[in-house]
Amino acid sequence: MNSANTAQAEGPNAYPSAAPLEFRNVSKRYPRSDRPAIADLSFSVPAGEICVLVGPSGCGKTTAMRLVNRMTDLTSGDILLDGESVTQRKPAELRREIGYVIQQIGLFPHQTIAQNIATVPKLLGWEKDRTQRRVTELLELVSLPSEMGDRYPAELSGGQRQRVGVARALAADPPLMLMDEPFGAIDPINRERLQNEFLRLQAEIRKTVVFVTHDIDEAIKMGDRIAILREGGVLAQYATPDELLARPADDFVARFVGADRGLKRLTLSQLHDIVLLDVPTAHVGDAASDARERAAQRDADELVVLDGGEQPIGRLPVARLNGQPVSADDADPLTSTASRETSLRDALSLVVADRNRPLVVLEADGRLAGLVSLELISAALRPADGAGSPEAARGAQR
Amino acid sequence: MNDFVDGIKFIGDNSGLLWHLTIKHLELTGAAVGIALLIALPIGIWLGHLHRGSFVAISISNVGRALPTLALISFGVAILGIGFLNSMIALVILAVPPVLTNAYVAVEGVDRDAVEAAEGMGMTPLEVLLRVELPLALPLIFAGIRIAVVFVIATATIASVAGGTGLGDIIVDQATYRLPGVIGASICVAVLALLAQLLFALLQRAITPRGLRVQKVRPGRPESAAAVPVITN
């Protein structure tokens, strides 16, 4: 959290750390073109949320993003950043308050990494000391060693350059970030790592982010809200990822999100988003009769055996209980377990792999949390409200 | 301005002499460029084909440029005395670098994919050179020849001080021909150089394979951008 402090506490313009963004009936029409590039686009992004603009190529998603920092000027309508129309601002000044990350990154090859990151602070006339401290903070924030500040972009790998691009955009602690396919040119493995890193970073800095991508999976992963655009810059649907997958507005959206949208929804929720099944337990050495009684109370045909430290060590079918006290030897060892952070999709896979037997879920300290069954997972998919809905727990994921 | 009028008048009055000297000028240019081509083209093309010797092939034109023409001629005079041979050697030395460097860059820079495709289809190295590399390299090779020609036309003028024969004879001999003669001959040399430039530019266009003309080529600007930036236009 200290990262944002240099920028904020001492800044000549003490920015809010995030600002809401609103598109109001925005249209963009290029001269000598019969069709608008953006048609009557309206949506609003609450402060601190990631809004993903997604759609097929030619849908105007990049154009829509560039309207915000006036790299392209809108034809009609208005865009409000923190309640203020961007059209009233001088473009250069406006842009210094908005972080900007593009696919090719566009690092300045003739400047060191530190100089690159210091670009906007320098434009804003920060003192040297403060800029220097901010650069160090940002390198740390994006997990780059501070020695890297003296290197030139050509000496860095693609992933490192992308981190520098993000750090550079964050330099003046802008209330809004624009990111145009920021991870598009990175190989899949590193892309996923950078995505996760950015989500972790965002949990810390809580910027308002407009994120452009053509990849629906990336949109679902990164977005708090997703705006799907169709050709001609028309908004097809604006919703949370879960709503989009559960209730696509029309055929276009349904096709765009894909036939596997049910499975995609499962990736959105983790086991701590749902109420797990209670399961009877027995400690090693408990009397068989007590154990059988406890199972009978819950109408269960199986017990989870715990050791002295309350750690589950196996599952014991009630039928195996003979007169002897509960013993670890009688129980089936735990072949697979899940944690609260396991996604529903992974949980489903584990359940199916274990012949649809409910899966044991553990708490972070290794104690038993409960069981998850096929029925529970499929119930979570049903669009319903209440504690079981992944939608309700969406925020908790971060 | 009167001097220019007199200069043009001189051209009219002495067309015979000027024509004679122009022919001599062109003969000297042609001979020098011809010899330079015989030396430079095979070396440049061969090195380019082998993708070897880039340092030599590129830096020769830097060295060539660093040789002031008048200084070179003066060395020639000091060693060989005044005469045709001295001028000829100086002109050849000056014409070799642009031809060699351009030939090298042209052949070396031919799209590797095209060469590999040719090899993959079973062409011998010689066939690759003759059927793929040379046709594609031709425009840039030709640009080198053009630079050499224009350069030699200009330098042949100066060579008059060392016993060359051409339009420079008049320009360096103001005592005999007076200012109008000098101006008239200067105009002739300037026109000659510009015409050569134009003619070769048109020829270069004509020999450029049509497939290469379509794409907006800015040919051969890798390392040669530093070495010979003006070779193309």
């Binding site: 090719q104 030139y152 | 040399v189 930036p229």
Partner: protein
């Protein structure tokens, strides 16, 4: 008809007044070090200094003109063809002719010499500056704009620094070209290293020819080397980029 003036020199080199010099000088041997020593202060050094002056003025003025023209052509690409054609024509006109053609206008003066020399730098510098600016990758320009650099800031802080290697490459060629052509200026103004060369040609005195010629070559190579060093200092990033 040709070589009226020179023919007698070539035929019968009457040894002119080479002074009370050594046998080496009196015999007009290929190179006499003692002549260089005794004429350094009086002939060669002043000529070298004049030559450097001629070159510096031409390159500085030529660079200023080319810089403005290139920035204009970068901003308004329509300007490029006319500027390129005019600069190309000037570049093509043989130096000796161009020097003489300026005589009726600006006389037998240093001004004439500089005008001609400047005109040879423009094609080289103009094309290289423009090329350098145009080679700045679009994404870098986009990022600069997106971060809120004004057009002017982008030019001075991003585009020109990135164009430096190409610009310096052009400067190297321009300097070497001017050093070479400045010797030819001797036909209209008796200055620079062309003067001792010309004098040497008049009386076929070998030492003077070789000494002045060698100084010219050395000056060209030195200037070229100095610019290479300058570029290394100015563009530390270009070295890492290649490795």
């Amino acid at each position: 008809m040709s070589g009226v003036l020179l023919a007698p020199l070539a035929a019968a080199p009457v040894i002119p007044d080479f002074g009370r010099g050594s046998t080496c000088i009196r015999d007009n041997k290929l190179f006499c070090w003692d002549w260089v020593q005794s004429n350094w202060g009086g002939t060669l050094r002043p000529a070298l200094i004049q030559h450097i002056e001629l070159t510096l003025i031409a390159v500085v003025v030529g660079f200023a003109i080319s810089f403005v023209l290139a920035l204009a052509a970068y901003r308004w690409s329509r300007l490029e063809p006319p500027v390129g054609i005019v600069a190309g024509i000037l570049y093509t006109i043989p130096s000796l002719a161009l020097f003489q053609l300026l005589v009726p206008v600006t006389g037998l003066s240093r001004t004439s010499a500089e005008i001609a020399l400047v005109s040879y730098t423009i094609l080289i510098l103009f094309s290289n500056i423009l090329e350098g600016l145009r080679n700045v990758p679009a994404d870098v320009r986009d990022a600069a704009e997106g971060m809120g650099l004004t057009r002017w800031q982008t030019l001075w802080r991003v585009e020109l620094p990135m164009a430096l290697p190409t610009i310096v490459a052009g400067l190297r060629i321009a300097v070497v070209t001017v050093v070479s052509l400045a010797t030819v200026a001797v036909f209209i103004v008796n200055e620079g290293l062309g003067a001792p060369i010309y004098a040497g040609l008049q009386n076929a005195f070998k030492t003077e020819l070789i000494a002045a010629g060698a100084l010219t070559v050395a000056l060209a190579l030195f200037a070229d080397g100095a610019l290479v060093l300058l570029q290394r200092v100015l563009t530390p990033w270009a070295r890492t980029a290649r490795s």
